[in-house]
């Protein structure tokens, strides 16, 4: 809980910084603050407290996911320091990011639909603004506009769902709803299930599952690289955690209504983005599609065993998030995000090329990197619960994935360089080294991460 306070506090602080003009120190302060947040959140380990008569609950599930997003945000701030430096609205941006993080924390730890709703909205509204933060660029405008329009449209469905569920069960409270479902399974009105489905729509939009994913590639491509990085890591983690909480903690006993629908969605989410990505000439957009595709694997993990998948999903998200923050760091340094921008990157900057290669290999799921173990645990779990067919599909799609990831690698090493050599600041070097190392270590010693939530 203190973590939440501290994050919001940092947000206010960065707003004040505009007035007190502490802009110089702000970045450092935020990073230090976030480190402190991590400490605070980890201190709550195994306490599982409920706050404000059960509005939020900080059980281990929340704690690991919050810790994850906070750590990722630290990397994010580290990587995107120059997204703020020297810009106008520097403080506004950092404040919005911090509020977004606060919203993410709520989405992870909510125990009441109101909190879920507010969390989602805080996150979304900040992001609508941030996606458009490159005001002069039409792409940025379009991204934020699309994101806003479709986002609020989806919110409508989510709310309708919440309303119907409320009508059927007479409560917004996750645990109460769950109890009600398990105690009176027979006397639920049909419109309750409609509510569940509508909530599924709303959440599926947030995690960008097919067929509610159309916004993702466009928005990811249009938004500034750093914001895309934030969306494809922190936001995605939060959304999936929320999704998991809603459907595993709350509606798990009503599974038969939504499981089949979710299976269809999973298949679509595995197939469509992975195949679409094959054609991509723009690395940024390709990563967008791949991040949609990864949702498919997470959903596979979820449907194969909805009651205790968190360990798997958590590990997968960690691997995915670290890999993609790495990729986006490189993207951020390369600036030109077309394929041509990556041609001959190895000659322009070996470090960038190698780090990018590692992250792409991890995303493609090549051992011994983290991404491989992530896919492995997912597939293993699915096989164990008799979803062999879906696993086969997953294998095929990940092969397709290999194809489009490796095209980038080949271009980086074989093509003629597309520009002058790239100079890297030492802080970025250390960051990239750290991330690459993390990818490797997580791959070699995945044990404790997986068993955290087992």
């Amino acid at each position: 809980m203190n973590a939440l306070y501290l994050i919001c506090g940092l947000g206010f602080l960065s707003l004040l910084a505009e007035i007190a003009n502490l802009k110089k120190a702000l970045g450092a302060v935020i990073i230090v603050g976030l480190c402190l947040v991590t400490v605070l959140i980890v201190m709550d380990w195994n306490t599982g407290q409920h706050y404000y008569n059960d509005m939020v609950v900080f059980d281990n599930f929340s704690i690991v996911f919050i810790a994850l997003i906070v750590v990722i945000s630290i990397f994010w701030f580290w990587m995107s320091s120059d997204y703020f430096r020297g810009q106008s609205h520097q403080t506004d941006r950092s404040a919005l990011i911090l509020f977004a993080i606060a919203g993410a924390v709520l989405m992870i730890s909510f125990n009441n639909m109101a909190m879920l709703f507010l969390g989602i909205e805080i996150l979304s509204i900040s992001l609508y603004a941030l996606a458009g933060s490159k005001k002069e660029s039409l792409f940025s405008n379009e991204a934020s506009f699309k994101y806003f329009l479709m986002g609020s449209f989806a919110t409508g469905f989510l709310l309708m769902g919440i309303a119907l569920v409320y009508g059927a069960t007479g409560s917004f409270h996750v645990t109460k709803i769950a109890e009600y479902l398990s105690s009176y399974p027979s006397e639920l009105p049909i419109f309750f299930y409609a509510g569940v489905v509508l909530m599924l729509v709303g959440m599926a939009f947030k995690i960008s599952a097919v067929p509610f994913h159309f916004w993702a590639p466009d928005v990811y491509e249009g938004a500034p690289v750093t914001i895309t990085a934030f969306m494809s890591t922190v936001v995605k983690i939060a959304a999936i955690a929320a999704f998991y909480r809603v459907f595993s903690f709350c509606f798990s006993s009503a599974q038969e209504t939504w499981i089949t629908i979710l299976q269809v969605i999973t298949v679509l989410t595995l197939v469509v983005p992975n195949i679409t990505a094959v054609y991509q000439g723009r690395v940024k957009r390709m990563l967008a599609y791949s991040s949609v595709g990864h949702v498919g694997y997470i959903l596979l993990a979820f449907i194969s065993n909805s009651t205790n998948a968190p360990g798997t999903i958590f590990y997968y998200l960690t691997a995915y998030a670290i890999a993609s923050i790495t990729a986006f760091t490189v993207l951020h340094e390369v600036e030109n995000t077309d394929h041509s921008g990556f041609n001959g990157l190895y000659q322009r900057s070996p470090m960038l090329a190698v780090v990018m290669t590692i992250s792409l290999l991890s995303l493609a799921g090549i051992p011994p990197l983290a991404g491989f173990f992530a896919k492995y645990v997912v597939f293993a779990q699915a096989v164990n619960h008799g979803y062999t067919g879906l696993v086969m599909l997953g294998v095929v799609t990940s092969l397709i994935g290999v194809y489009y990831y490796f095209k980038v690698i080949i271009d980086m090493f074989l093509k003629e360089p597309a520009g002058a050599a790239i100079q890297l600041s030492s802080s970025i070097r250390t960051l990239m080294g750290l991330l690459a190392l993390l990818l490797l270590l997580l791959g070699l010693f995945p044990d404790w991460l997986i068993s955290l939530l087992a």
């Binding site: 159309f214 590639p217 466009d218 679409t276 194809y403």
Partner: protein
């Protein structure tokens, strides 16, 4: 007996050492040293072979064999094969022939090859050949024999293609190796089957078990083995490589393609006499093939104009005769003829060699003639060889051939008839060759005749020695009817003892034998007369290329077009098939299939991306449709 064992091992090892020393110091050694080493090695092993021979004689009848296990080779589970050597009457005879004739030919080569760039290489190959040949005959199990079997094939490949600048020679070499390989596959399969059925590859163990096997198996095995013999001993249908093999230097033709290697098949069948005698079918097969080959090759030889080609076909024909002997169960006669043949055929080849040598490599008998006064030694020795092969008593050929004919007659007069016909043809073409070469007018060009000269000593001496052998060689096995002791049959009898018990022995009365001999000699003389009248009296010369000639003559002149037939029914189809595999199945079918998977994915991707068309209206439309679908799914169930 340690001494003996050591000596036995020494026999093959010496030529091997010779090969190693020469080939590893190819550049450094002078011709003199090389020829000394090479000939020395073979000479010493010849001397040792003689020692072993005497040792063998000193043994009582039933213990006339020494066996040495050098080391184990392939051994795993129930498969255990050693490098082990066996010296018994059969192999000791072979030893003597190989090392003896081999030595003479080595000496001959010193003169013949003296100004060749590849002198050292040549001798290293010769030594290697002798080594493998000795492995072949001394091995006490099938696999060691197979080692020698393929090894000699290799050496023949290397020596046929010795002048590797000439691609035609290389083609001949490849042809020889591959055709031998076909035979070898048969042999290998036979050996494996033997191992399957007898659980071992050692001769005595196999022969011990052999009687207990059922006939069909043995027939199958023996036929497979005989396929090997076909390849190696140039029998129909695998004989075409041997005439081409004349591309090699003449000493090679003498040593490998007349005296020793090509007789390996005969040796192998004789070695497995028990198995063959247990299977009448394969004996008959051998008989038929042998007869056919003898006749067929003889007819071809009639019209050939290349001196070495004629000898080559006569070799094929003589080998056929040996197989006839084996086919009728007269194994020792086969070996006997092999021995005599080794002498006179080597002699003939070396004689031809010295002619060629004298005429700067001219091989066409139409461009020879009247050489009698220029090359007296060659003339004499060659004459002796011709007499020997024609079976004029008392030359070596007479006894061996007569014995075979006698056995043939005892089995079936028809066989006798055919064999006789073949041998008469032999007489004819040999004399044709002889007359055309040494008699009549000189047809060689001026510049050639200008520096024609008799061969040097190193070449003359072997000729003389071989001539002597061709004269006296026959006396090692004079049959009883001619008041002889048939010593060789006696000596070899332990080897063939078992099979003789199996086979029914045909006895001929002495009178018939005299009658047969009489007819044979008479006919031979007649044929010689015809030849004389044609080529000496009329001094007629075979028509040059392109002239019209009779149908049969043409057939025989073009070797019945067998090469062309093989080319069209085997070689071309194989290449055609391979090409089709490569172009159609590989590229268009399998690879296409694999690639099309990837391409289809790309195509789908091209399709899917149109859904991502950037208009919000469309996206929302799809979303709502999704919602509708989901609610519909809900309401339905």
């Amino acid at each position: 007996m340690v001494g003996i064992e050591f000596l036995i091992v020494l026999v093959p090892v010496l030529p091997l050492l010779g090969f190693l020393i020469i080939s590893l110091n190819n550049k450094r050694l002078s011709h003199g040293v090389v020829s000394f080493i090479a000939c020395g090695a073979v000479l010493v092993s010849f001397i040792i072979s003689v020692l072993l021979f005497t040792q063998l004689l000193s043994q009582p009848e039933d213990q006339r064999f020494f066996q040495v296990v050098v080391m184990d080779w392939i051994s795993t589970g129930d498969l255990s094969i050693n490098f082990s050597f066996l010296v018994d009457p059969l192999s000791s005879i072979m030893l003597l022939i190989i090392t003896g004739v081999g030595f003479l030919i080595h000496v001959y080569s010193i003169g013949y090859m003296h100004d060749d760039a590849g002198f050292n290489k040549f001798f290293s190959y010769l030594n290697l050949f002798v080594f493998f040949m000795l492995m072949l005959v001394m091995g006490s199990n099938y696999l060691v024999m197979f080692v020698g079997w393929e090894g000699v094939g290799l050496c023949s490949y290397l020596l046929i293609g010795f002048w590797f600048k000439n691609q035609a020679y290389n083609d001949a070499a490849n042809k020889a190796f591959i055709m031998n390989r076909i035979g070898d596959l048969g042999l290998l399969l036979g050996v494996i089957l033997i191992f399957m059925n007898c659980g071992s590859l050692n001769y005595e163990e196999v022969f011990a078990k052999a009687t207990s096997l059922d006939t069909s198996t043995i027939t199958f095995i023996t036929i497979l083995l005989f396929v090997g013999a076909m390849g190696k001993s140039a029998q129909i249908p695998l004989y075409t490589w041997l005439p081409d093999a004349m591309a090699g230097p003449t000493p090679v033709s003498a040593l490998i393609h007349a005296a020793t290697m090509v007789t390996a098949g005969v040796y192998m069948v004789a070695r497995n006499n028990l198995l063959y005698s247990l299977s009448p079918i394969s004996l008959n097969l051998i008989l038929v093939i042998g007869l056919a080959t003898a006749l067929f090759a003889a007819t071809i030889a009639l019209t050939q104009n290349d001196i070495k080609k004629v000898l080559a076909y006569s070799t094929v024909s003589q080998l056929g005769l040996m197989f006839v002997a084996l086919g009728v169960g007269a194994f020792s006669s086969g070996i006997f003829h092999m021995a005599t043949h080794a002498f006179f055929k080597a002699l003939l080849f070396l004689g031809a060699g010295s002619v060629i040598h004298a005429l700067q490599g001219e091989q066409d008998i139409r461009k020879m003639g009247g050489l009698k006064k220029y090359l007296p030694i060659t003339y004499i020795t060659f004459f002796i060889g011709v007499l020997a092969i024609s079976g004029i008593p008392p030359f070596a050929g007479f006894f061996s051939k007569d014995e075979i004919l006698a056995h043939a007659f005892s089995v079936n007069p028809l066989v006798w008839g055919v064999a006789l016909l073949a041998s008469l043809l032999t007489v004819f073409y040999m004399f044709r060759l002889f007359f055309l070469t040494f008699y009549g007018s000189v047809r060689a060009g001026e510049n050639v005749m200008h520096h024609i000269h008799e061969s040097p000593k190193s070449m003359a001496v072997p000729l003389i020695l071989l001539a002597v052998m061709s004269v006296v060689g026959g006396f090692m096995n004079v049959p009883e009817v001619l008041w002889g002791s048939a010593w060789l049959n006696e000596f070899l009898s332990p080897v063939f003892a078992q099979s003789q018990t199996v086979l029914v022995a045909h006895e001929l009365s002495h009178s018939t034998e005299y009658m047969l001999m009489g007819t044979v000699i008479a006919l031979t003389l007649v044929v010689i007369g015809i030849g004389y009248s044609m080529y000496v009296a009329k001094d007629s010369v075979p028509s040059a290329e392109g002239e019209r000639i009779g149908m049969l003559h043409k057939l025989s002149y073009h070797k019945y077009f067998v090469d062309e037939i093989y080319d069209t029914i085997v070689v071309k189809p194989l290449y055609w098939l391979s090409g089709k595999f490569d172009l159609i199945i590989e590229r268009l079918a399998i690879d296409r299939l694999v690639n099309s998977v990837g391409e289809s994915v790309v195509a789908w991707s091209g399709l899917f991306r149109w859904f991502q068309n950037g208009t919000i209206g469309f996206y929302i439309f799809i979303m709502v449709m999704g919602v509708v679908a989901m609610l519909l799914a809900l309401t339905i169930n």
